[in-house]
């Protein structure tokens, strides 16, 4: 067991190193410089130069790169050039919103994707199967921001059922917070729900054709018991990994959803960081997101091994 985890950690370390290098190169190659953005259009050239020196942007790239890696080891992402606060603090302030949004979106995608997938897979080419596949393909082809704008227009502005943007002031309780997160949650969950539906359906079809399902029916068990107890648990194995992975990839998609709905989360922070050339924040968010993805990947992998008794015993 230990050997399996240690070489996984080894590979994770190399992956994170490559990620760090890619992030550094990207952020340093971006044209446009943060100093001019902070000082405003009327600032003269020498003021901009002075600020660049303050931020150490004038040092040769190699020096900046080493400094960057040094900071990373200590998990210190440096201070935002723009927000005047440490990057870690900026992310923490926004993490709560993004994480709540992702949890809600994952729940919505599970609540809609899986049951439909199970029903579709249980009886192949049945009504649910056709309906499910049609919904899946349609859902996967709608651009999320377009759906967001339409929802805002009709549900928020015309009907007034939901707030238009943001997620309530500091005094807002979690009920109001939630009310703000419903529409973005739905938009964010769309691609995941579709993926879950498809994966669950394929997995169900595969499991329903297995011999032990025929055995279960031969034991006289009713269809609901056969599906829910015997088929579902086996079908969910591959689905669990997908839920884990898509939750991680979802963070990337929050960028669009948070922009459409004006939510001050991490997704929006990274767009700002790019547009304001706030290198430290860009590096911090990209590292965190990539790190999160790798960690979630590991957890899901271990989870999968633990659930499946066939593998649990012989953890190679």
């Amino acid at each position: 067991m230990f050997r399996a985890v240690s070489n996984r950690l080894g590979s994770i370390a190399t992956v994170m190193f490559i990620v760090a290098t890619v992030v550094f190169v990207i952020s340093r190659v971006i044209p446009g410089d943060p100093a001019s953005v902070v000082l405003g259009a009327a600032a003269t050239q020498d003021e901009i130069a002075r600020l660049r020196i303050d931020w150490g942007l004038d040092k040769p790239l190699i020096v900046q790169y080493v400094a960057f890696l040094g900071q990373l080891i200590r998990l210190d992402f440096g201070t935002s050039l723009f927000l005047g606060q440490p990057v870690a603090a900026a992310m923490l302030e926004r993490a709560e919103l993004t994480i709540s949004l992702c949890i809600l979106a994952t729940l919505i995608s599970v609540l809609f994707g899986m049951p439909l997938g199970i029903l579709a897979g249980a009886r192949r080419d049945g009504l649910f199967d056709r309906l499910g596949s049609a919904l899946a393909i349609l859902g996967a082809s709608l651009p999320s921001f377009w759906v967001g704008l339409i929802l805002i227009r009709f549900l928020a502005v015309d009907l007034g059922w939901f707030p238009v943007s943001g997620w309530g002031g500091p005094e807002a309780g979690w009920a109001e917070r939630l009310h703000h997160l419903i529409l973005p949650g739905v938009v964010l969950s769309l691609p995941n729900a579709v993926l879950l539906l498809r994966i669950t359906r394929t997995s169900m079809i595969d499991v329903m054709s297995q011999d032990y399902i025929r055995t279960a029916r031969a034991k006289g068990l009713g269809p609901s018991v056969v599906i829910l107890r015997h088929a579902l648990r086996n079908a969910l194995l591959p689905v669990v990994t997908v839920i884990g992975l898509t939750a991680a990839l979802m963070i990337g998609r929050t960028v669009v959803t948070e922009t459409v709905f004006g939510l001050p989360g991490i997704g929006n922070l990274v767009v700002q960081a790019v547009l304001r050339r706030d290198y430290p924040v860009l590096q911090g968010v990209l590292m965190t997101v990539a790190g999160l993805y790798v960690v979630i990947n590991l957890i899901v992998d271990l989870l999968y091994r633990w659930i499946d008794p066939r593998v649990r015993g012989s953890l190679q």
Partner: protein, 334 residues
């Protein structure tokens, strides 16, 4: 035990219907299962023997598979039950309770994510409503009864932790959970190696003597039939071509197909069988159930073929008293 009939299959016919093809998998099959005795259904794959067993259990893949004729009647102690007429819910009460079934692939017939004990206990808890602990204790007893060593420990094992033979024993234990009247064994020994095969047959015979249950044994291996069956029916192209007492048929097959099957057996396996002609294979390939010839379905491959074989349908008529043969030249074959 005498020979009280437990299960009667009369003129059973099954079809698989898809948009452009109708496969007549089983045509007009009749036989009866007697308590304490084993009835064998023999034939090459595609002869309809497995479909017959699934039809009895009403486990045909809906909506394609359908029973299009005949009936299956279970003579339970509290009165006969026409299985083909039962509602799905009523049939569920029969499956696993009065009629149990074991399958060919022990490796995949058990749910990988549940312990063996749980899967056996589930039958008792479902049908008899016994408590979880009691059912599990029963399961351990059954495992012990079917010859699995250290049954109490093994009950907590997962299927992948058992050998093929042990898993098949677990399947048998599961089948016995509710002391069924009939056990259908669909090629239970095919996937096992020869030594384990013999033990399995011995186990089934013991259990049968002990419980008096009727066994429908489905196989393509004539050697196994000789070992275990008292009565046998040979199926070809969805029809029974010959039915009768096992020993008699082995000694004097009256249908060309049965004869061909026996001739293709390597002699040394059946040392107690007089050596007939040299090893011969049956020419041609199995008939296509979607394009059945008019007359005898074996005619295209039959050495004794005559024009009249291919005109009208051939009846299954009693040749000597206790033998049925579906061949006009049965006399000459013997």
């Amino acid at each position: 035990m005498g020979d009280t009939t437990v299960l009667a299959v009369e003129n059973l016919s099954v079809e698989f219907r898809s948009r452009r093809r109708i496969v007549r998998a089983v045509s007009d099959v009749s036989f009866t299962l007697k308590a304490g005795r084993t009835f064998a259904l023999v034939g090459e794959s595609g002869s309809g023997k497995s479909v017959t067993s699934l039809a009895i259990m009403r486990l045909l893949a809906a909506p394609a598979g359908r029973i299009t004729g005949g009936s299956v009647t279970l003579h339970a102690p509290d009165g006969p039950l026409a299985l083909t007429a039962l509602s799905e819910r009523a049939m569920r009460a029969v499956r696993g309770r009065q009629i149990a079934m074991i399958f060919q692939e022990p490796m995949t017939s058990l749910n990988p994510l549940f312990t063996v004990g749980d899967q056996i206990a589930e039958v008792a808890r479902h049908h008899l409503g016994t408590s979880r602990a009691e059912a599990f204790k029963g399961a351990v007893a059954l495992l012990d009864r079917v010859g699995i060593p250290a049954a109490a420990h093994r009950a907590h094992a997962y299927p992948h932790e058992l050998s093929g033979g042990m898993r098949q024993r677990a399947m048998i234990a599961m089948a016995l959970a509710c002391k069924p009247l009939v056990m259908i064994a669909d090629e239970p020994t095919t996937a096992l190696d020869v030594t384990v095969q013999a033990q399995m047959l011995e186990l089934i015979r013991e259990l049968q003597d002990e419980t008096g249950m009727a066994v429908l044994f489905i196989t393509h291996n004539l050697g196994v039939v000789a070992e275990i069956a008292s009565e046998v029916a040979v199926m070809y192209g969805g029809q029974i071509v010959e039915r009768g007492e096992a020993g008699a048929i082995f000694a004097a097959p009256r249908h060309p197909y049965t004869r061909g099957l026996l001739d293709s057996l390597p002699p040394e396996i059946d040392s107690n069988m007089p050596v007939r002609a040299p090893l011969k294979a049956i020419p041609g390939s199995v008939v296509d159930l979607a394009a059945l010839p008019p007359g005898c379905r074996f005619a295209p491959r039959c050495a004794w073929r005559q024009p009249r074989c291919e005109t009208g349908a051939i009846a299954l008529d009693a040749d000597p008293a206790n033998r049925l043969v579906r061949c006009v030249r049965a006399q000459e074959v013997a």
